[in-house]
């Protein structure tokens, strides 16, 4: 599935408050099927919140979010079904600590998608093979390195066969030498045509895998352009300021 321009996720006029803090201000964003969008910007700018509203881990106060043309369900089973179609990868991995890597990957398919256990395990092993940690299948999360845990978390999300993958700062909690192995998996995924929304500061990844960069600051989308354009010729002062800070060192 390659990028076709047909929108998969659409946010219209989305607003969200944390108490008095206006964290998302009139956000309009459409992400096409097969598109990879990188969301970048200073911390506290609303990137993670934006990412989390799309599978309703955060509720919104006004506006509209649709996935595949349908508005996000409010709660209950319909919401659980929606979430099963949207993969999510967290900064802190969040693998189920009391389950082995294999059990982490098969839990969703068996309990939510009702795939027979043997088949789920077979598919899980194939996914673990794909992210390069098949040999760790029987271990518990705490026995793995951060990079391995994050790759397992990606496999867990992929096991649900999602329409869309959300990555919320997937490499921010990793030691530098483990960032590459995770980005590699993500780049492969992008190349295969997965629709991805990635909150990250990894410019290398943005340049090689993203079709579009969205720059967010103070709860607003300040600038949207191609990675090349954004990193070489940012249009806004805010973006120039941000880039000068992260590029200086």
């Amino acid at each position: 599935m390659k990028y076709s321009g047909e929108p998969l996720v659409v946010l219209e006029n989305v607003n969200k408050y944390f108490g008095d803090l206006h964290v998302l201000k009139d956000i309009d964003l459409a992400v096409g099927r097969g598109e990879v969008v990188v969301v970048i910007g200073p911390s506290g700018g609303g990137k993670s919140t934006l990412c989390r509203t799309i599978n309703r881990l955060e509720t919104i106060d006004s506006g509209k979010i649709t996935l595949d043309g349908l508005p996000l369900p409010q709660e209950g089973r319909a919401l659980a079904r929606l979430r099963s179609e949207v993969g999510m990868v967290f900064q802190s991995f969040n693998l189920f600590a009391h389950k082995t890597i294999l059990q982490n990957v098969t839990l969703g398919p068996v309990k939510v998608r009702k795939v027979p256990k043997a088949q789920a395990e077979q598919e899980a092993m194939a996914l673990l093979e794909r992210v390069g940690i098949a040999s760790q299948a029987g271990k518990y999360p705490a026995q793995l390195s951060g990079g391995q845990q994050q790759r397992a978390a990606i496999a867990r999300a992929l096991a649900m066969r999602p329409k869309l993958m959300l990555f919320d700062e997937p490499t921010s909690a990793l030691d530098p030498e483990m960032v590459a192995e995770v980005l590699e998996v993500m780049t492969d995924l992008a190349r295969e045509g997965m629709t991805m929304i990635v909150v990250t500061h990894e410019m290398g990844f943005a340049r090689s895998a993203a079709r579009r960069v969205v720059f967010m600051a103070d709860g607003q989308i300040v600038e949207e352009s191609t990675p090349e354009e954004f990193f070489t010729e940012p249009r806004t002062e805010r973006a120039r300021d941000f880039l000068s800070k992260i590029l200086r060192h």
């Binding site: 979430r83 099963s84 179609e85 189920f96 009391h98 309990k111 978390a153 867990r156």
Partner: protein, 223 residues
């Protein structure tokens, strides 16, 4: 010493009743306590309120009152009985009812402390793969919460075993009931009888403490 030896059969029968009482109440308290904690952390305000109300009332009522209410209120006044024809059977289940109603609140609160040790991200990850609240509780949150509080749950079980002595007020014949009879009959050996029964309770409670301590170490969730 002779008082203990002469009454050995009665003592064993008494402690056997204690064990039956404690074991049944423990199982039912764990079940009811788990249900209560699910209510108390549920996203539905009405359910949370029901759980909180129950725990607040039962946890703050003296066990003596709870058991007397079972024996006098439920059985005598309201005439709600398990089996009127069989007083021993009826007394047993009324006592189990009271002990369970009371102990489950402590199980609930202990488990709730365990739920609080489970990082927020575990619940978010389970929601993110599409598990419902009940599935996420059953498969992800509670298993980790249980493992975190096995040792404190052991303390709750020990308290339960010792609390069976309060059943004396409800007239069911467990170990403390036997002891009370013996104290009336053999006034000269009071200290010996006390020591003997104290040792008897320790034989029941010490293994619970060691076993739960061992399980807690063995099943600890590494993060």
């Amino acid at each position: 010493m002779s008082a203990l030896i002469e009454n050995f059969d009665a003592i064993i029968a008494g402690f056997w009743s204690t064990i039956r009482l404690a074991a049944m109440s423990a199982v039912l308290s764990l079940l009811l306590g788990t249900l209560l904690v699910a209510l108390r952390v549920s996203p539905v305000p009405v359910l949370r309120g029901m759980g909180t109300l129950y725990v607040t009332i039962l946890r703050n009522t003296p066990l003596t009152l709870v058991l007397l209410f079972c024996a006098l209120g439920i059985s005598n006044t309201l005439q709600l009985n398990f089996d009127v024809e069989d007083p021993a059977f009826n007394g047993y289940w009324l006592a189990v009812l009271g002990l369970t109603a009371y102990t489950s609140t402590f199980v609930c609160e202990t488990l709730r402390a365990g739920v609080n040790t489970v990082p927020m991200g575990q619940a978010e990850a389970s929601r993110a793969i599409g598990l419902t609240f009940a599935q996420s509780m059953r498969m992800v949150i509670l298993p980790q919460a249980f493992r975190a509080v096995i040792a404190p749950l052991g303390s709750v079980l020990i308290a339960l075993i010792k609390n069976t002595t309060v059943v004396i007020v409800a007239g069911y014949a467990e170990a403390a009931f036997v002891m009370k009879d013996m104290l009336y009959e053999s006034a000269g050996t009071v200290v010996m009888v006390f020591l003997g029964f104290a040792a008897g309770y320790m034989i029941l409670t010490l293994p619970v403490g060691y076993l739960t301590g061992w399980l807690a170490r063995r099943l600890a969730v590494r993060r």
